[in-house]
Amino acid sequence: MSSENPEQRAEQGADQLPAQAEEERREQPVARTGMFGARTTGDTSGYGRLVIRQSPKVTAPRPYGGPDGAAEAGEFDEVADELERLLPDFGDAIERVVVHRGELTFFVKRERLLDVARTMRDEPTLRFELCSGVSGVHYPKDEGAELHSVVHLLSITHNRRVRLEATCPDADPHVPSLVPVYPTCDWHERETYDFFGIVYDGHPALTRIEMPDDWVGHPQRKDYPLGGIPVEYRGAEIPPPDERRSYV
């Protein structure tokens, strides 16, 4: 992990990249091999044997700091402390906590999402009274947690934000609905269902919202093609965007 080069080392330190043991990295599944996306012909770039592994899931250590990225305990710690005090089984409900780019994320076990959200809204010391919406993300390589449902909460009282993230596997795409706590999630959850196929249990009327009612498939999933046709421009044929070279 840490480089021999003092300049690089300083950069890594500034990025606050978590130190990982080499063994831990080697256990991770392979994300890609080689370079420049060359698959069809022999790779002459010299990167042919490069193996990039998925980075292990990050858990932020205490203190969490605040939005300014300070190293000492800040308002993120206040939120976490309060939540820990109010949820007797905090360690069971919250899988991990991530602090990145001045934002606090709680990965919540999906069974406990409703419970956690209610605490977040109702407790005067937390009081996240406004839900900024639900967004879905599809990580096909994240086995057992392919679909993520991301909720952004805003506390006007304390002027702070927090993110709740719940995951569910592709095989069982169910997450409890937050409509009983935040009625604004009604359309957001319909949208996420429409685009990702996450079924929000307990939603009053989970139907498609953007796509036509008889549409097949969930377009924002990574296994759903973008589509498109090649275009001819000045004698050259330009392939559709999803068939162009990508620099992964």
Partner: protein, 448 residues
């Protein structure tokens, strides 16, 4: 020819889609409709308003159940303008993303771009490195855009209530704002002007004096609009105590923007969670405490006046603050200072002479940045700005590649539109129009 028979399934066939008797209103057939409805002896009438109805701000569909003139039930149908912008962005570079997202809320393109770029900059961790001049230009463009957006909101609102004078006046003033955009960016709408790391190009010479002319003209024009509407008895009758939504309703439905500020809560992200240096500008947050359509109108009017104040401060600063408008980091910042040519915006002739004639390295950098783009460290960020309609958020996710892994926009139009039933149910059918217009949804933003 084969003799295979098949029956086409038509999901929208009237017999299948509706129960009871169906009337197709095509104009000049009101007598038949009225006579037919009388025959039924049923007071309940389901009216399908939209998606092509002129009073629905675009392609919004309202399904109203009417009991006489009273709205019993209101359901909102959207999705007629879904263009898959979020999906498309996943197949382009981070810089190209602005070209897509600027088209979401087409009345507030600068806000879409800025929300997205702030998210990308946050993920790159370069927020502090964006040049000051770029931030001032961003603020100025956003405030000009806020004025043009509010002008359309008020203009179309007038039109929907039947007042073409309001519409004409509003659109005339908007045109002057769009002229400024054209002068500065080369385009009136969908400019893709704000880019990750700064803005696409510096102000052209003469732009500041044009903005000063605009600042001289606008206060009088806004005053004229106020004179026309503020105490107009017809206008008051159509807006006072109409479409009531209080603070509790706003909180639970996630409503932000002028609708929220009309309940008396001074929640404005420019003040409470500042970005782009808004904390250094002097302006007031407009509020009203009437919770009705009239209050929302007053909030918008006052916001335009405050925006003019901010633009004035920006002009003053832009005279002092010189320097680059794109981040210094050559790995992120487009190596060109773009310029407006005869055929629109593009690389400046000086830059092309530089890369084609003198510097091989500059050519390589340019080629790599344009074809491959820059990489953004893996992670996710949520950026939030105060758009004319409320909190515009961008949830930006990267997997460490040269393309966005996922970008989701928290569109205020989308969220606020959910409040339509809460505002319209129990009221008169004519007030549904006022309710929708006071939310000021832009369907391009709702459906994305």
């Amino acid at each position: 020819m084969s003799s295979t028979k098949y029956t086409e399934y038509d999901a929208y066939a009237a017999e299948e889609a509706a129960e009871g008797r169906v009337f197709d209103v095509n104009g000049q057939d009101w007598d038949q409709v009225v006579a037919g409805a009388e025959d039924l002896g049923d007071e309940r009438l389901v009216v399908n308003m939209g998606p092509q109805h002129p009073s629905t701000h675009g392609v919004l569909r309202l399904i109203l159940t009417l009991d006489g003139e009273t709205v019993d039930d209101c359901r909102v149908g959207i999705g007629y303008l879904h263009t898959g912008i979020e999906k498309n962005m996943e197949f382009r570079t981070w810089t190209q993303g602005t070209t897509f997202c600027t088209r979401m809320d087409y009345l507030a393109p600068i806000f879409n771009e800025t929300a997205y770029c702030l998210g990308v900059e946050k993920l790159l961790d370069v927020t502090d490195q964006v040049p000051e001049r770029a931030q001032i230009i961003r603020v100025m463009m956003m405030e000009l855009n806020r004025i043009s957006s509010h002008l359309v909101a008020i203009a179309t609102f007038g039109l929907e209530l039947g007042a073409t004078t309001v519409m004409l006046n509003g659109f005339i003033e908007r045109e002057y704002t769009l002229d400024l955009f054209e002068e500065i960016t080369g385009l009136r709408m969908n400019m893709a002007y704000v880019r990750p790391g700064g803005v696409a190009q510096d102000l052209p010479s003469g732009a500041l004096s044009k903005i000063r002319d605009y600042l001289d003209r606008m206060p009088k024009r806004i005053q004229a609009l106020r004179k026309l509407m503020d105490a107009n008895p017809v206008y008051l009758a159509r807006t006072r105590d109409i479409a009531y939504l209080d603070l509790t309703g706003c909180m639970s439905l996630g409503v932000t923007g002028p609708v929220l500020r009309a309940t008396g809560l001074p929640w404005d992200l420019r003040k409470s969670q500042p970005y782009c240096g808004y904390e250094t500008y002097d302006f007031e947050v407009a509020t009203q405490d009437t919770c009705d359509v009239y209050g929302r109108y007053l909030v918008r009017m006052q916001e335009m006046e405050e925006s003019l104040k901010i633009v004035e401060q920006c002009v003053e600063r832009l005279q002092r603050v010189k320097g680059p408008v794109m981040i210094e980091d050559k790995k992120i910042g487009w190596p060109a200072q773009l310029a407006i040519g005869a055929d629109g915006m593009g690389n400046s002739p000086r830059h092309i002479a530089h890369i084609m004639g003198t510097s091989m390295e500059a050519l390589i950098h340019h080629f790599k940045l344009v074809t491959e783009g820059f990489r953004v460290p893996a992670g996710q960020a949520y950026s939030h700005i105060e758009s004319p309609r409320g909190e515009l958020g961008a949830h930006v996710v990267s997997d460490g590649g040269t393309r966005p892994y996922r970008v989701h926009f928290r569109e205020p139009s989308f969220v606020n539109l959910q409040a339509t039933p809460a505002m319209a149910e129990g009221g008169m059918v004519a007030d549904v129009i006022a309710a929708v217009a006071s939310i000021d949804p832009v369907m391009g933003g709702v459906d994305r």
